[in-house]
């Protein structure tokens, strides 16, 4: 049996295949279809301080090889998360990473403090959501502001802190360096790309929120590029995501420098995508005689 286990930001995982925030509910939705306990870790939908109802529909729109979404962080708030959702997620026996979304630095700190000691295994700071007007991407595109948030959260919690970055910036490496210097234990790359679609019949934007975040295989090369650039520039592990649908895609991210990967939109096309990716990685290592799969991380730039 191939050992795919890995440690990311001090969080021990049985394999490097996670689910991307906002695509997997609390695990319970997928549990009739496969053993959710086989995943590397679960990542929650973005959690805000107060309950948040999200954007008006339509919230999604299919696009070539992907989709736009503008869900807008709908969630019941951190307290309901802790009491109602976290116990369900912990029940699968794999680490739970809480994606947190403040609208201000102070809110990020307060959410982090409330989650500390609850059983959550790590935090993923969401300074990259394109679908809310304040916080989200507004904080995550300016390195100084992003660093301030990260520094404040790191000081407020004993939990590992992962920072999820937006690709909607000129220089993602500068952003990555800033949040790493501020104490981030790991980085998630990438959140969705800002996009939109227009209905030519109604001559109006399709999404209720007008703008949305693009995900799916359409954005994969952008994500691979971000992982390639950032993993060479910082010393913390990178969790790669963006259009990963098959085992080959996951391997591409690992070769680009990712220590773990997350599967998101692919679940909408194939609910078993993450399971198939884990199997692929096992077979790949077996067939190629690889005992330590982590030697593959960043091979594409280490061997250049």
């Amino acid at each position: 049996m191939i050992d795919l286990s890995v440690e990311v930001a001090g969080i021990r995982m049985q394999n490097p295949v996670l689910v991307a925030s906002g695509t997997f509910g609390c695990g319970e939705e997928y549990s009739p279809l496969f053993d959710v306990g086989r995943l590397g870790a679960l990542v929650t939908k973005g959690i805000t301080l107060k309950p948040w109802q999200g954007n008006k529909p339509p919230r999604i729109c299919e696009t070539p090889a992907g989709l736009l979404n503008a869900v807008g962080l709908q969630n019941p708030g951190v307290d309901a998360f802790i009491h109602e959702i976290l116990p369900v997620m912990k029940g699968y026996g794999v680490p739970v990473i809480a994606n947190i979304a403040g609208f201000t630095k102070e809110e990020f700190v307060e959410i982090a403090e409330r989650l500390t000691g609850t059983g959550v295994d790590g935090l993923e700071i969401n300074i990259s959501c394109p679908n809310v007007k304040s916080g989200g991407m507004a904080l995550g595109t300016v390195p100084e502001l992003a660093a301030e948030v990260v520094e404040a959260v790191v000081e407020s919690t004993s939990l590992p802190v992962i920072v999820k970055l937006t690709p909607n910036v000129t220089d993602i490496v500068a952003l990555a360096r800033a949040v790493t210097d501020a104490g981030a234990d790991a980085l998630s790359l990438i959140n969705t790309l800002l996009g939109m679609a227009i209905d030519i019949k109604s001559r109006r934007p399709v999404l209720g929120n007008v703008l949305g975040g693009l995900s799916g295989p359409a954005i994969r090369p952008v994500a691979v590029r971000a992982v390639w650039q950032v993993s060479q520039a910082v010393d913390v592990p990178v969790i790669g995501m963006g259009g990963i649908c098959r085992g080959e895609d996951a391997l591409e991210f690992i070769l680009a420098g990712a220590t773990a990967v997350a599967v998101g939109s692919a679940h909408f096309r194939d609910p078993l995508a993450a399971m198939k990716i884990i199997s692929y990685l096992e077979h790949y290592c077996e067939e190629n005689g690889i005992n330590d799969w982590q030697k593959l991380i960043g091979t594409a730039w280490k061997n250049k």
């Binding site: 906002g22 695509t23 997997f24 509910g25 609390c26 319970e28 939705e29 997928y30 009739p32 279809l33 929650t44 939908k45 309950p51 109802q53 999200g54 008006k56 529909p57 339509p58 919230r59 999604i60 729109c61 299919e62 696009t63 070539p64 090889a65 992907g66 989709l67 979404n69 869900v71 709908q74 969630n75 019941p76 998360f81 109602e84 959702i85 369900v88 799916g216 295989p217 359409a218 649908c245 939109s265 679940h267 909408f268 096309r269 194939d270 609910p271 078993l272």
Partner: protein, 269 residues
């Protein structure tokens, strides 16, 4: 992020083999697949997500409600309109082809214990989920009247199939059926006639809103099947939101729906 449990052990991604594909009207197809497990598990008003295409374009699956289910023969039928690349791909499937079918999904029609006089309102393709419902209700000795409406005669779908289970009344906007008007005219006639225990409706939002209004005004319980753009179908992605009437938030069409009690949701335009 729902936390309720449901005992849907039969929910699965079935590899369904195409048995038959029939054009029932211009642009409308009746697709029948073999999937005994799905047939056993499906209830009227529920739906499935059908995988379309072999690459990534189209990317999302297509949600289609169960049109007919033959448990004994393990057959499941879907009635759909060819609208875009996904349904076009489905329309090209032939006998023997395999389609991934994730289901059954969502909350279907509920039985009311008020009485067994049901009024079914199917506007256009809204007829799709009502045939399965009509069959199950008639088996339980319900007395049914089925209203089918469309702009023209070719849009009246499956009237002959419905006739086995109740009285069928049709209406077209261009008068190509004996009765000219909209389905709302027929609905109002039937409401005036009275004696209904439950209204079941599927169709465009304007029709569903009228059913909501009639239900609120007359006190006759109504259930409406709502459509929305959908991604995961499982309640995870929160993409298919419908405004809740009882709270400030949203309900998931794929999970709390697609069939809602008329007073449960606010249908935005």
């Amino acid at each position: 992020m729902g936390t309720e449990c449901r005992a849907d052990a039969q929910l699965s991604d079935y590899a369904a083999r195409v048995l038959e594909q029939v054009a029932v009207a211009p642009g409308c197809r009746l697709l029948t697949v073999s999937s005994p497990g799905l047939a056993r598990a499906a209830s009227p008003g529920q739906f499935a997500l059908l995988g379309c295409g072999t690459g990534y374009d189209p990317f999302l699956r297509r949600p289609l409600s169960f049109h007919r289910v033959d448990v004994k023969r393990g057959k499941v039928s879907f009635l759909y309109r060819v609208k875009g690349s996904g349904t076009q791909w489905l329309a090209e499937r032939r006998r023997g082809d395999v389609i991934p079918v994730l289901g059954p999904l969502g909350r279907g029609f509920r039985h009311s214990d008020r009485g067994k006089r049901g009024l079914l309102v199917g506007a256009g393709l809204g007829a799709a989920p009502l045939l399965f419902l009509a069959e199950r209700l008639s088996r339980q000795a319900w007395s049914l009247t089925v209203l089918l409406g469309a702009p023209t005669r070719t849009g009246i779908l499956r009237a002959d199939a419905f006739e086995r289970f109740g009285t069928v009344r049709t209406v077209t906007e261009d008068g190509s059926t004996p009765k000219k008007g909209t389905i709302l005219d027929l609905l109002q006639e039937e409401i005036n006639r009275g004696g209904w225990d439950t209204i079941y409706a599927c169709g465009p939002r304007v029709v569903l809103k009228a059913v909501q209004e009639i239900s609120a005004r007359t006190g006759i319980p109504a259930q409406i099947s709502v459509e929305e753009r959908m991604a995961c179908g499982l309640g995870a992605c929160l993409g298919c939101a419908c405004r809740s009437a009882s709270s400030s938030g949203y309900l998931r069409v794929c999970r709390e729906g697609p069939v809602f009690d008329a007073g449960e949701v606010i249908l935005d335009d």
